[in-house]
Each structure stands twice: as structure tokens, then as C-alpha cells.
């Protein structure tokens, strides 16, 4: 039997639900050198801001049990350079719709990025990151209150006709309230979760491992938290949810979808296994067969 892996996000049909998460796949170039990335459902490209950013000082990476902390700090060439250089290059190696991940330090910046990326034909979805823990005075600050999350959502919705997904932070007391505020403000979907704020200390040197002291914790260790939050949010809103956080296998994709995700992003796993997304996509039909799943859409949110 042919298994149906396709899913639909706000009218955007994906051949399968697997999307590399922003910041773990660049703009596709490095990965396209080792496999044909057209097998992916889509790509959420590297978080883009209005202005070019170098990001945080190094060390930016800390090893953790079943995960890592990163403090990259939204290093990117800026939205104009992304449109001028990265997207034309991506178009040559990836022919499917893409998810444009954008971030900002003010509502005006979010708006400007969305306005510019709205004109890009290959961009199917705008994924608005209001949850980066690695930048001060912005990023996550917008994602930690329902009011500011709604304000960003409303502002970007006014300047684009493309579906807007808001990427939420898990570092909040009530993720459901924030997701609902985004939905009410017009969001077309929710991506969750971004990284958990974490910290490691080098006990021999008595110094934080990360130069910026704290960073975003991701990897297999946060998967149960992500499943829980996807479950909570997906059952509280009517808009689609992209599940993200610690997904490392085809079984994890199924679990995330049963929790309520329509599509699934794979993040940290790409850093330790560059073939992670490819292997997950190839494994999915076998796991579906084993579990008696004909169509992936049949399992979305089956957990009551």
C-alpha cells in the first residue's frame, strides 16, 4: 500500500510533514551538497532580521545530556542580502515552497522583514520568531506576554497576504494564553517550541561555558516538553500547529502529530546527524505501516 505522507498548512500542500527547523539548516546549501533536499516537506530558513547581525561572542555552544545549548544570537546577513543572495541560491537547489523565518527587535523591524519577504514567490509561509532567547531587548520578549505577541501578529498580518505562523517560546507560564492571543490577532498558525533557556558552568574554570552565560537548550531532551506544549496549544486553537523541539526520529514525528501537530520541524538532530531529515522521511512509511497508518493526516491530534 502507498502511504500518504502529505499534509496541508493553510493551503500550502507539503509532500511530507518534515521541515528542518530554522537555524539548523542554513539556507540549504551545505545540506544540498550531501543529499537532494527536494525530498523535504519544506525548509524553514535561518532566522533573518532587518539588519545584518554577527550574533553573540563565542563560545556559543555547550554540550548537554541529550542536547545542546546554543547562543548564536541570530547571526544572519540581513533581509536584503537574504533576498539578493540566499533565496536565489536556494531556489536553484530547492523547488518547493519555503518557510521564511524572521525575527526583530521592534515591531517595525518585524513588519519591514515581512513586507520584503512577502514579495518572494517561493516564500509560502512567514514564520515570525518571537521566541529567540539569545538576544536582548527583543526576540523572546515579544513572545512572553499575550499582549505583545498579539501586537506583533497584528502588525505583520497587516502587511502580508501569506500565511503567518508565530513561533512561540516555551519559557512562559501559560503558552496556551499566548497562542490564543496570536490566533485572535489573526495568526494563521503556530510553531512551537523554540529552545528552553538554559545554562552550563565549567566547574574547573568557575565560568559559564557559553560566553553569553545563558542560551537556548534544544535536542532530544526537550522532546517531552515540546509534545506537551503542542498538545496543549493544538487543542486550544483552531489554527494549525507546526510541532518542533527534540524531534529525532520518524516515531517522534508521529508522536508530535498525534499530539496535534500538522507538520513537524527537526532541529538540533541535524547538527549531529546531517542526514537526519532524510532518514526520518525515508523511515516514515515503514513506521506508518507498522502502526497501521494509511494517511498521516488521519493521526493529527488523535490524542484527546
Amino acid at each position: 500500500m502507498v502511504r500518504d505522507l502529505s499534509v496541508e498548512l493553510c493551503g500550502v500542500v507539503l509532500d511530507n510533514p518534515v521541515i528542518p527547523a530554522s537555524g539548523t539548516f542554513g539556507f540549504g546549501k551545505e545540506m544540498s551538497e550531501i543529499y537532494d533536499i527536494n525530498i523535504l516537506g519544506s525548509i524553514s530558513f535561518k532566522g533573518t532580521t532587518r539588519d545584518a547581525r554577527f550574533g553573540n561572542p563565542t563560545p556559543r555552544i555547550a554540550e548537554c545530556p541529550s542536547g545542546l545549548i546554543n547562543s548564536v544570537g541570530l547571526q544572519n546577513p540581513g533581509v536584503d542580502a537574504v533576498i539578493a543572495n540566499e533565496l536565489p541560491a536556494l531556489r536553484k537547489i530547492f523547488r518547493k515552497p519555503i518557510v521564511a523565518n524572521i525575527s526583530g527587535f521592534s515591531i517595525e523591524e518585524y513588519v519591514e522583514c515581512c513586507q520584503k519577504l512577502d514579495k518572494e514567490e517561493q516564500v509560502a509561509i512567514l514564520e515570525v520568531n518571537i521566541s529567540c532567547p539569545n538576544v536582548h531587548n527583543g526576540g523572546m520578549a515579544f513572545g512572553t506576554s499575550p499582549e505583545s505577541a498579539a501586537a506583533v501578529t497584528k502588525a505583520v498580518k497587516a502587511v502580508t497576504t501569506k500565511p503567518v505562523f508565530i513561533k512561540l517560546s516555551p519559557n512562559v507560564t501559560d503558552i496556551v494564553a499566548i497562542a490564543k492571543a496570536c490566533e485572535e490577532a489573526g495568526a494563521d498558525g503556530i510553531t512551537l517550541i523554540n529552545t528552553m533557556l538554559g545554562m552550563r558552568i565549567d566547574i574547573a574554570r568557575r565560568k559559564p561555558v557559553i560566553a553569553n552565560k545563558m542560551g537556548g537548550f534544544s535536542g532530544a531532551a526537550i522532546f517531552p516538553i515540546a509534545v506537551r506544549m503542542v498538545y496543549q496549544v493544538a487543542h486550544a486553537v483552531k489554527i494549525p500547529v507546526i510541532g518542533c523541539g527534540g524531534v529525532s526520529s520518524a516515531e517522534d514525528v508521529i508522536e508530535m502529530m498525534m499530539a496535534g501537530a500538522t507538520a513537524v520541524q527537526v532541529g538540533a538532530e541535524n547538527l549531529r546527524n546531517p542526514y537526519a531529515c532524510k532518514e526520518i522521511i525515508e523511515e516514515l512509511p515503514f513506521v506508518m505501516e507498522r502502526l497501521g497508518i494509511e494517511k498521516l493526516t488521519d493521526i493529527i491530534g488523535v490524542i484527546e
Partner: protein
């Protein structure tokens, strides 16, 4: 980049903390001296980047220092252990740079990548001088191997137990060696001193804590005179004039 399974064929201590590991398998992904590999290790989330000391058809030599959990695990590996390895990472040294008398300077665990480089430069008819810096006699490794390749080898030790007492820069000054280009790998203060003291052009191999090792996570980015660069992808080898100290 290639992902391959390699088998440990030898894993021996050269000094109390420096080990030499030989790995057998398809290492065709390694194409230049100065590149590195990323090894997946049981129980650790991220792969560990290790510089390539030497490569032959079907064989890779890594010389590494035990500095943490990953390298400690490696040091305990028995012959026959199979490892999941990404090969051919990083740019490597520019072995075709026009020069006649290259000076290769290595400090401590920065010495290994200079081995294959020495071999390649000698094969290109260059007159190679290698300056190796260590803390003390007990930490010296590979000096005779460089001599076997035909290089002129100068040793510096911080405590003066062997060779010139002091740093590699002292040894270079004392030896009066003639050179028209340099290649270096070692601790940052050493690389900085070299770049500032040597008037000739050269290139240095830098180290930075990495996430992926193949250019997607931006974990190891540094600022250079030519903009932001990834140590794992555009590096680890940078031209002297690119590095901001």
C-alpha cells in the same frame, strides 16, 4: 563532507595525554592537510571535531589530546571499535601557495595537522623547517616523524628540558631560519605572537567550540577582516591578514 564508518586499528598513548589513533575505511572524503573530522561518540550529543594528522588510501591517523569527556572516551577505545565519522571537513592549508622555504610552527596538540602538511610540501620540493613547541620533554611527540619526512626540525620547550628554552617565537629568532611563508596551528597566544612577529605572510589554523562542524549552525563564527566566517567551513585555516586578534 562524507559520512563513513571507520574501524579503529590502533589507539596508543604517545605521551600521558596525547594519543595516536589509526582508523581504517573509506577516507576519500579527506582531501587536504589541515582538514578535520567529526566523530560521533556514545553518550555524547554532539560530535567531536579532531584534526587530521595523516591520511592514506583507506587509512586515517588522528593524534589527539585528552581534554574532556569525548577525547577521554576515545582514549579508551579498543581495536576493532567502529566509529561514525564525518570526513573532509574544513578548508585545510593552501599547499600550493608560492614559496620555497616554508616555516611550519606547531604548539602542543596543534602539531598533528602539520604532519601531513610537511609531507605534501616536501613532495612539492619545498625546503621545510618545522618548529614544534611543548611545555616539557615528557610532552614531546612526533619530532622524529617530522625528521623522517625530511624536514629540518627545531624544538622549543617552555622549561628548556629539550631544545630552545622558551616559546616557538624564541626558537625561530634564535635559529635564524630563512623562510618566505609560514603555516601554523596551536594555542591562540602562540598564533597571535607569530602573526605579529613574523613579517612574512602565512596562514593559521584556528580552533573554536563547534556545534555541527559542517557550516549550518553558526556556532563557531568569528569576525575576520573579510567579515564573519565559520571556523568549521571557511576555516579552520585563515590567512594571517584575515585574523582579527
Amino acid at each position: 563532507m562524507q559520512r563513513v564508518v571507520l574501524t579503529v586499528t590502533k589507539n596508543e598513548a604517545l605521551t600521558p595525554l596525547i594519543y595516536e589513533m589509526h582508523l581504517a575505511g573509506d577516507v576519500s572524503g579527506v582531501t587536504r592537510a589541515g582538514q578535520f573530522v567529526e566523530i560521533a561518540l556514545d553518550g555524547l550529543y554532539l560530535r567531536r571535531p579532531i584534526s587530521v594528522c595523516n591520511y592514506e588510501e583507506g587509512e586515517l591517523t588522528l593524534v589527539y589530546k585528552v581534554v574532556g569527556k569525548g577525547t577521554d572516551l576515545m582514549s579508551q577505545m579498543a581495536e576493532g571499535t567502529q566509529l561514525d565519522v564525518l570526513t573532509g571537513l574544513g578548508n585545510g592549508f593552501n599547499i600550493d601557495h608560492e614559496c620555497k622555504k616554508p616555516l611550519l610552527v606547531g604548539g602542543g596538540v596543534g602539531v598533528p595537522p602539520l604532519y601531513r602538511l610537511t609531507r605534501d610540501l616536501i613532495a612539492r620540493g619545498k625546503e621545510v623547517t618545522v618548529v614544534l613547541g611543548f611545555n616539557t620533554e615528557a610532552e614531546i611527540f612526533y619530532a622524529e616523524k617530522f625528521e623522517e619526512l625530511g624536514a629540518n626540525v627545531i624544538i622549543a620547550t617552555a622549561d628548556g628540558s629539550v631544545g630552545v628554552k622558551g616559546f616557538v617565537t624564541n626558537a625561530i629568532a634564535e635559529s635564524g631560519v630563512e623562510t618566505d611563508y609560514f603555516y601554523s596551528c596551536g594555542p591562540l597566544p602562540m598564533l597571535k605572537a607569530l602573526c605579529q612577529n613574523l613579517e612574512i605572510d602565512g596562514e593559521v589554523s584556528l580552533e573554536e567550540r563547534m556545534g555541527c562542524g559542517f557550516g549550518i549552525c553558526m556556532g563557531c563564527s568569528i569576525q575576520t577582516t573579510k567579515g564573519a566566517k565559520r571556523v568549521c567551513k571557511e576555516g579552520p585555516v585563515f590567512k594571517k591578514e584575515e585574523v582579527i586578534w
